[in-house]
């Protein structure tokens, strides 16, 4: 059962990464392009959480300030 929910998260994350970047490719407004790019970064984070490895989390979230949040989440 845990595998189902993890696979669900992995699937959504992978879908987010691919589709959001593909949508960013066709934008002409640069702010909107950055917005879609931010969406695709969230996809990477969801992908990292979907793997369910603790060590994957701080390495996956590229922003350093994420780490205290993640530590708090696992406390």
């Amino acid at each position: 059962m845990n595998n189902i929910s993890n696979t669900f998260l992995l699937f959504i994350g992978a879908l987010t990464v691919v589709i959001a970047v593909a949508m960013a490719l066709v934008q002409h407004d640069f702010k909107r392009l950055l917005g879609y790019h931010a969406v695709s970064q969230v996809g990477y984070m969801v992908l990292g959480i979907g793997t369910r490895y603790r060590s994957a989390l701080p390495a996956d979230c590229s922003i350093c300030s994420t780490t205290p949040f993640i530590n708090r989440a696992y406390s």
Partner: protein
């Protein structure tokens, strides 16, 4: 004030307090984005408020289900095994709320609009840093509580 609300949501040990700060952040996002004053900015602020507010309702529903299953609002020591329909529904609802806050795929459509029409400092601060981290935080926390 926004930073204070987000820190409150992170350090809240009670699910009700988490929801209160969560909703305050949605309202602050609306106010900050619409502070630009243009029609487009207020339209995208309204869109963000509707999407985040609607998924807040999912979060409140999930917390109600958690209370029904475990009888407590405290996060410490809360462990839920995914073996009943209630647990599945609450899990899905919390994931929906986290996705909408972070801007993941099915609920992402407010983020590009806010980035395009909102004021640039607000875009850099709220959706790009605080809201995204909060959504991922809730996802990690929930996953920890449900599965570990």
């Amino acid at each position: 004030m926004t930073l204070g609300c987000s820190m409150g949501a992170v350090y809240a040990n009670n699910l009700i307090i988490l929801v209160v700060f969560w909703g305050m952040l949605a309202a602050l996002l609306y106010l900050l984005v619409s502070s630009d004053g243009t029609v487009k900015a207020s339209a995208s602020a309204k869109k963000a408020l509707i999407i985040i507010g609607g998924t807040d309702a999912c979060l409140i529903f999930a917390i109600g289900l958690i209370w029904k299953m475990s009888g407590t609002f405290l996060m410490e020591g809360l462990h839920i095994s995914l073996n009943s329909p209630f647990a599945y529904i609450s899990y899905i609802c919390i994931v929906i709320a986290a996705f909408a806050k972070a801007g993941a795929m099915p609920f992402h459509s407010w983020l590009p609009d806010v980035a395009q029409n909102g004021p640039a400092p607000v875009t850099a601060y709220l959706p790009a840093s605080v809201d995204k981290l909060l959504g991922i935080y809730l996802l990690a926390k929930r996953l920890c509580r449900y599965l570990l």
